[in-house]
Amino acid sequence: MSETLLDVQNLTMKFGGLIAIDDLSFSAKKDHITSIIGPNGAGKTTVFNCLTGFYKATAGSMYLNKNNNKMDLKKFSDFKVAQKAGVARTFQNIRLFPQMSVLENMMVAQHNKLMTASGFSILGLINSKSYLQKEKEAMEISKYWLDIIGLTNRADDNAGDLPYGDQRKLEIVRAMCIEPHLLCLDEPAAGLNAKESAELNKLLKFIKNDKKTGILLIEHDMSVVMGISDHVVVLNYGKKIFEGTASETKNSPEVIEAYLGTED
């Protein structure tokens, strides 16, 4: 049994009178892919936004186990979640830097590391050797990931010019460049064809197994969810209605009811 990476307890998020997440508790393990599924409007993305500091949760607690160091995610606001806690995320509608090259996208993801190396630009301005060395290392890391998704030969093209499927993969490996402990993916398979979905599964398994990074996944594509999830959390109207393995979820009457409705 592997250790718990993320522990969410009694998370509640209210927008005025609307309760988007209602007393949600779940946990994610270190070398697991944990999927959050549910019908549209169930509050899945809101969970992500709370976790990654884009929203401030109304109540509840979220702890990340970073190298046996318990970090309270509620203490971090937006960019600090990625910077300090090492929680990376992607977005439902791809958010690359479209006018910048693929390689630049990867370099921006390594910003904090490079910023320190460049002595807050002072060492960088005078071309210090230590900075150039760090920049080269960052390029090697970028190249490593681009090789994995097969985009190295397009590294100097604008990210916005890539085909849709490649943009999805680029966003994922860009998030990996911050060397996260937890990777939150918001519908990575949306709009992908069967072949691209299969490639995505392979990439996610690689990240889980070889990079030992926990993955939290929101997904509608059941072939992806069932194929790679170790654990599934089902939400409906902001409440957790089921939690279990992929096959348990598939056969759960509550889940079927939430998706298809009941027979009267």
Binding site: T52, F54, D78, F79, K80, V81, A82, Q83, K84, A88, R89, T90, F91, R95, L96, F97, P98, Q99, M100, S101, L103, E104, M107, V108, A109, H111, N112, L114, M115, A117, S118, F120, S121, G124, L125, E135, M139, K143, T152, N153, A155, D156, R174, A175, C177, I178
Partner: protein
């Protein structure tokens, strides 16, 4: 298809004619004339008719023209593309040639006082454009109050030089520092704003600084302005015909005849060096992490946050560095004019600098030079037709926006490339 197009264009130009009539009818058509000490309205319908016909016909041809372009909408026109490609290929050589030309310019036979003054003015605008390019072009923060930093630089230089008698080379960094501090001061309240809202607040900031300068009489002498700002000296050698007792001047030290042009040429080289420093700095910092973060922030702020980029610090550095170069340019302006007043720092100055950056192509350093030559040159050509200067200026902007909607040089070069070994 063709017939349909002509029909549509005719309809459209008819509308244009109606709008032109509604606009120019009252503005041009009705003129009040004093007759026997009474104001009488004198209609000028023929002039209105000419204008309306001109607008309608012009609109018709623009329609036909843009239809031909429709298939390649958003793409730069082929002529502009050719220029852009040419500049790409020969970029380094052209830059060297341009710098070489700027260096030998004062020794050209035609470079008299008039030409030198224009060259100095253009260089100042180029430097301001390069400074503002950091804020608008790279960081994507539309700053309509850039002239405020120019003013802060000019006034802090003037005040330090007048009251403490410090030399230009001491006051210059101080002025830059002050302007940079004001950049941060402006940056803080506008961190959460973007787009139109940011533009309005920065515009207001520019006006606030001007009004402050106008009303803080004890410090700035208000509308009277500051006079007697020390001229810069050539490393301690002043440019004076009749120096004070025992003081060596530039011309006596080098054993030359006194010539007022010496000072002008020195000022020219001063602004050239300052501008080139701005340029080199911008080119360099764009390739550093902070420069890439500026551009990433322009592209997508939320994605930046998700990658742990601190948007606050990143924006503030852009504001501060942009403002600092504005301050440097301001202190040059003060020392060159020897007199400054709030009159020199009106909104129109900000607008011209923004126009230079936007028309040049956001983020393009060469584009700033080209649009400065074009716009400031145009204003100079129209110097004798004072009231038509702004019309020409506006017309030039419209033309650039029609033919090069993304600026003269819209192509962006990556800050880092994988190169061939990838």
């Amino acid at each position: 298809m063709g017939k349909d197009l002509i029909q549509k264009s005719l309809k459209d130009s008819l509308f244009t004619g109606i709008i032109a009539l509604a606009l120019f009818g009252p503005i041009v058509g009705l003129r009040t004339v004093a007759k026997n000490e009474v104001l009488v309205v004198e209609p000028k319908w023929f002039v209105v008719l000419l204008i309306v016909i001109f607008c309608a016909v012009g609109r018709f041809f623009i329609n036909i023209y843009s239809y031909k372009k429709e298939k390649r909408r958003g793409e730069p026109s082929s002529f502009g593309k050719a220029i852009s490609n040419f500049l790409d290929e020969k970029g380094a050589q052209i830059a060297i040639a341009a710098i070489a030309f700027s260096i030998i310019f004062p020794f050209m036979p035609f470079a008299d006082r008039y030409w030198m003054d224009i060259a100095i003015m253009m260089m100042t605008y180029i430097m301001l454009g390069w400074g503002l390019n950091i804020v608008i072009g790279l960081a994507g923060l539309l700053d309509l109050g850039y002239v405020a930093f120019y003013a802060v630089g000019a006034y802090s230089y003037a005040l330090f030089a007048i009251h403490f008698g410090w030399s230009f080379w001491i006051c210059l960094p101080i002025a830059g520092l002050f302007a940079g501090m004001f950049g941060i001061l402006l940056g803080f309240p506008v961190l959460r704003l973007r787009g139109d809202y940011l533009a309005i607040v920065t515009l207001a900031f520019g006006e606030m600084i001007r009004i402050l300068l106008l009303n803080w009489y004890e410090l700035t002498k208000g509308p009277d302005g500051l006079t007697g700002i020390p001229r810069p000296s050539f490393f301690g050698l002043p440019f004076k015909r009749y120096p004070d007792e025992g003081v060596e001047t530039f011309h006596t030290f080098f054993g030359l005849e006194y010539d007022p042009m010496q000072r002008i040429v020195f000022l020219y080289y001063l602004i050239l060096v300052l501008a080139l420093i701005t340029n080199a700095f911008t080119i360099k910092i764009r390739r550093l992490p902070v420069g890439r973060a500026w551009e990433a922030l322009r592209e997508d702020e939320i994605a930046c946050k998700s990658l742990g980029v601190n948007p606050r610090n990143t924006k503030l550095t852009a504001f501060a560095i942009g403002a600092m170069f504005g301050g440097f340019a301001g202190s040059f302006f003060a020392t060159r004019q020897a007199f400054i007043s709030p009159e020199s720092f009106t909104f129109i100055e900000s607008a011209i600098i923004v126009a230079i950056v936007v028309l040049g192509g956001m983020g393009s350093q060469t584009g700033v030079v080209l649009s400065t030559i074009f716009l400031i040159g145009l204003i100079e050509v129209f110097r004798d037709f004072e009231s038509y200067r702004m019309v020409a200026f506006g017309g030039a902007m419209v033309l650039i926006m029609i033919f090069r909607p993304r600026g003269i040089l819209a192509k962006r070069k990556p800050t880092i490339t994988m190169g061939k070994h990838g």
